[in-house]
Symmetry: C2
Subunit: 125 residues, 2 copies
DNA sequence: CCGGATCCGGTCTGATACTG
DNA sequence: CAGTATCAGACCGGATCCGG
């Protein structure tokens, strides 16, 4: 039975929107996956390829939860060896501003960080 | 020596601003404390009084970390029985937009949540 | 009393190995 | 490639204890 160890069932339903939102994205990895989705990554191995090196079991769990919360949809895009891709839903895309403000805060206050998720329009010096 | 159990030393220094920011605020409790600060709470017991019931050791640890990151400052405001208050720094106040976007996302996508930290200007439908 | 520190059981993380 | 299984150790969370 294995008491669903890292499974996905974490409903707390606080009345505060901040607390409720944090119940969903309040951990180190979830938003990193969302960031990768915004960056155009779509497959499991692309997520694994990110420099933060998310553990494979954590990645699987987060993707499952993101799908349950309808922040992403998982769909097969090839059948022979079955391949899946994960895409942001409208709800997931609405997390953009959250990511954005975090990027701005990080760039302003944390030295040595530079955004790469927003290509920007070639502001070449 | 007690190998600093829940102590504060969690530097990962990723180059991505999202990852770096998440190393600081990427957990369930930290932003909740920041939310309380924005809501005007300043003392240890006021934080403990929040409906989410943060455990005392977690609260102490988060406040210590927030102070180390210079997101808050801790200062005594009374001496007889010494009492402390925690105040947001400019860096901490800059987290406002992050909180804001999370509130907006939560209110839009999570039913049954209602903000209480931002009075809002009566944008009645 | 208030602001924390300590203890301890249970949960989750994270590295690696393994499977379809 | 896309995960699942396993397992030690880190971390959380509740309760309790302590210093001023």
């Amino acid at each position: 039975m294995a008491k669903q160890n890292q499974s996905s069932e974490k409903f707390k339903r606080s009345s505060c929107p901040v607390a409720s939102t944090l119940d969903i994205i309040g951990d180190k990895w979830t938003l990193l996956v969302v960031r990768d989705l915004f960056a155009g990554k779509r497959t499991y191995s692309e997520f694994q390829g990110s420099p933060e090196k998310i553990p494979t079991n954590i990645l699987a769990d987060r993707l499952k939860r993101l799908a349950e919360y309808e922040i992403v949809v998982k769909k097969p895009y090839q059948h022979h060896p079955v391949r899946y891709e994960y895409l942001l839903t409208a709800k997931g895309k609405d997390l953009g501003p959250v990511l954005m403000t975090m990027v701005q805060w990080g760039e302003k206050h944390l030295p040595g960080t530079k955004a790469q998720i927003i290509p920007a329009k070639e502001a070449k010096p």
